[in-house]
């Protein structure tokens, strides 16, 4: 049971993020929802890469070890974090400009495009 606990946490964070994106009315809260989804994806990758008793994959620092973890998930996560940073920054700046144009952060009032 405890072995699966991290995956349960990943699922809960993902669903929380999805809920925020679908049902929140405030743009900032939607942005928080998206970063939650990003966090859950990153956490999933890290959890997948964890091996009990494994050692860091740096040969000169690890010393004498039995198991060495594959560094691919860590590399993937670092890349995903950088990409997430870029999208979050751009998203917040777009929200800023939306606020300047419309004077509100409520999605129900930002509806000039439809039909």
């Amino acid at each position: 049971m405890t072995g699966n606990l991290p995956y349960l946490v990943v699922g809960i964070i993902f669903l929380l993020g999805l809920y925020a994106v679908l049902f929140e009315k405030n743009l900032i809260k939607i942005a928080i929802g998206i970063t939650l989804i990003e966090a859950s994806a990153n956490l999933l990758l890290i959890v997948l890469g964890y091996r009990a008793g494994g050692s860091i994959p740096v040969f000169t620092l690890a010393g004498k070890v039995e198991k060495m973890v594959l560094p691919v998930p860590q590399a993937l996560t670092l890349t995903a974090i950088v990409i997430g940073l870029a999208t979050s920054a751009l998203m917040l700046s777009l929200i800023m400009m939306l606020y300047k144009h419309y004077g509100t952060l409520d999605v129900r009032e930002i509806r000039r495009l439809r039909g």
């Binding site: 993902f14 999805l18 994106v21 743009l27 939607i30 998206i34 989804i37 990003e38 859950s40 994806a41 999933l44 990758l45 997948l48 594959l70 691919v72 998930p73 993937l76 890349t79 995903a80 990409i83 870029a86 999208t87 751009l90 998203m91 777009l94 929200i95 400009m97 939306l98 144009h101 419309y102 930002i110 000039r112 495009l113 039909g115």
Partner: protein, 521 residues
């Protein structure tokens, strides 16, 4: 070793270099920037032609980034497929060719179209980043690399959709697109994590080699299909498409079309090359077919009632995506049955793939003509336009060609691809091809409406000052017109040289796998 082996990497490196040198080139003045924009796009297009020729002549090209072999062998004898590879088969090369032609046309068009605006150094850089992302998505042979290029393309397109940032609508469209697209990309990442957790590999061929359909794989497949269908604008996840396509500058919309095709490419690469025959049941093919039919019908019925010209075309492009999903979905349905494949499946796939190139060039050209109308007459609303055929004869001519081709009037290329789809889907269920025919009629209706209101009719006094658009814009549009006329005049050549190798490569899952892991891990 000739330099041709580096073609797959050059296809990505050249536009990427273009993106980062663009601000420097802009400092040298307007002419240098425009030269850089067009020159690098043209170079990319030339490279894509060379790559396509090379792949047709000598089979699938594999390029390992920063290494000799795709795997890393440890002294203990263990071997892991961890290198980043580019795998270019005939379908990838075809997609890269189509995409870089659209990018070239959009670039030439933008030199004149955007000249009144500031911030063009950033525009040029983002334009090249979008091209890089699109080409990377279709050339890569690595799942995670696919995600990275997907995000590069997405982030660049958020910036370009919101380029006219003093328009509230543009920011709103960009934000909507961003929410949909970021969630889509994260779902792709989670699916990749699932596959990695099962097989310790993100190399597409290595994953496909060992894939057995289990619970985790099904979850990953659902995430991938939903996310990529969202990214290419299929009903019911199409709501971002009309907004983003309408608000982006016209040259960018032409490229966004090609980028949505890259997501479609990802969808079919996953279904055919990674899962392939192990899909087993008919649930996935039918999901794709139903999405396709819904997109066709809902897209076109929304298009007919639109008043704004670019919005009409954007809804219409939702419906055209449906044709490709229908064709390739029928192909997927017939994948595990050689008899059905020979009877109708392969024809459907040829139709779908042929429609893909027709759609990209015709729709790209239609968006460019809409941009030209906006540039010349200052309005995109059909109620304000009229009688412009006298003022803008060349634009009118190219609009007629593109509209007739995409509506599937004989003898244009759109007729050929639609006919292939009609006759093959008729063998599965006649209702499918009836839906496709009805959609085609409504398509024609929507373009007759645009043609009648914008170009024909009495001249309006308010529009008497309208002149034909500058040469750069005409040149950009004529690139695509020439491609359409070429495809129209040589349907047999284009079917047997462009479309068939691509369709064969997509069906041949074993070939895709053995090109990489043929020698064992």
């Amino acid at each position: 070793m000739s330099w041709h082996v580096h073609l797959p990497a050059l296809m990505i490196a050249v536009p990427l270099l273009g993106a980062f040198v663009a601000p420097v080139a802009s400092m040298l003045g307007k002419a240098a920037r425009n030269f850089w924009l067009v020159g690098v796009s043209a170079l990319t297009a030339i490279l894509s032609v060379l790559l396509w020729q090379q792949v047709l002549a000598s089979g699938t090209a594999i390029y390992v980034m920063g290494g000799e072999a795709f795997n890393l062998s440890l002294p203990s004898g263990m071997s892991l497929p961890i290198r980043i590879i580019l795998e270019v088969d005939a379908f990838s090369a075809f997609m890269a060719l189509v995409g870089s032609i659209a990018a070239l046309a959009g670039a030439i068009f933008s030199t004149n179209y955007m000249e009144k605006f500031s911030g063009l150094d950033k525009f040029t850089a983002l334009y090249f980043l979008l091209t890089t992302g699109m080409l990377g998505m279709v050339l890569t042979g690595d799942l995670f690399n696919f995600f990275v290029f997907l995000e590069i393309a997405s982030v660049a397109s958020f910036g370009l959709v919101a380029f006219w940032r003093d328009r509230p609508e543009a920011i709103e469209a960009s934000f909507k697109y961003m929410v949909v697209s970021t969630i889509g990309a994260m779902m792709v990442l989670i699916a990749i994590a699932f596959l990695y957790g099962r097989y310790n590999a993100v190399n597409m061929a290595a994953v496909a080699n060992v894939l057995r359909l289990g619970y985790a794989e099904k979850v990953a497949l659902v995430f991938l299909i939903v996310a990529l269908a969202m990214k290419c604008g299929t009903v019911p996840m199409h709501m971002w498409t009309p907004d983003a396509y309408t608000e982006a500058p016209a040259g960018v919309t032409c490229l966004l079309i090609a980028v949505s095709q890259a997501s479609l490419y990802g969808l079919f690469r996953v279904c055919f090359s990674i899962y392939g025959a192990s899909l087993g049941s008919a649930v996935v093919p039918w999901t794709i077919i139903v999405m396709g039919v819904l997109s066709m019908f809902i897209g076109v019925s929304m298009a007919v009632v639109q008043k704004e010209i670019k919005r009409l075309m954007a809804y219409h492009s939702v419906s055209q995506i449906g044709y490709m999903l229908l064709g390739l979905g029928v192909g997927l349905l017939a994948l595990s049955d050689p008899q059905a494949m020979a009877d109708y499946g392969f024809t459907a796939m040829k139709g779908g793939i042929y429609h893909l190139i027709n759609y990209t060039v015709c729709k790209g050209l239609l968006f460019l003509t809409a941009g030209a109308l906006y540039y010349a007459a200052g309005s995109r609303n059909l109620n304000d336009l009229g009688g412009l055929a006298r003022n803008m004869p060349y634009t009118t001519f190219m609009f007629v060609i593109a509209a007739a081709a995409i509506a599937g009037l004989p003898p244009f290329n759109g007729f050929v691809s639609k006919l292939l789809i009609y006759e093959s889907t008729f063998a599965v269920y006649p209702i499918l091809s009836i839906m496709a025919l009805v959609t085609s009629v409504l398509t024609l209706a929507s373009f007759v409406k645009v043609f009648q209101t914008a170009f024909l009719g009495p001249a309006k006094a308010r529009l008497s000052h309208v002149k034909e658009v500058p040469a750069g814009m005409l040149l950009g549009m004529s690139v695509l017109t020439i491609v359409i006329i070429g495809l129209t005049l040589f349907p047999t050549w284009s079917l047997s040289n462009l479309v068939e190798p691509a369709a064969k490569a997509l069906v041949d899952q074993a070939g895709y796998i053995s090109a990489v892991v043929g020698g064992g891990l």
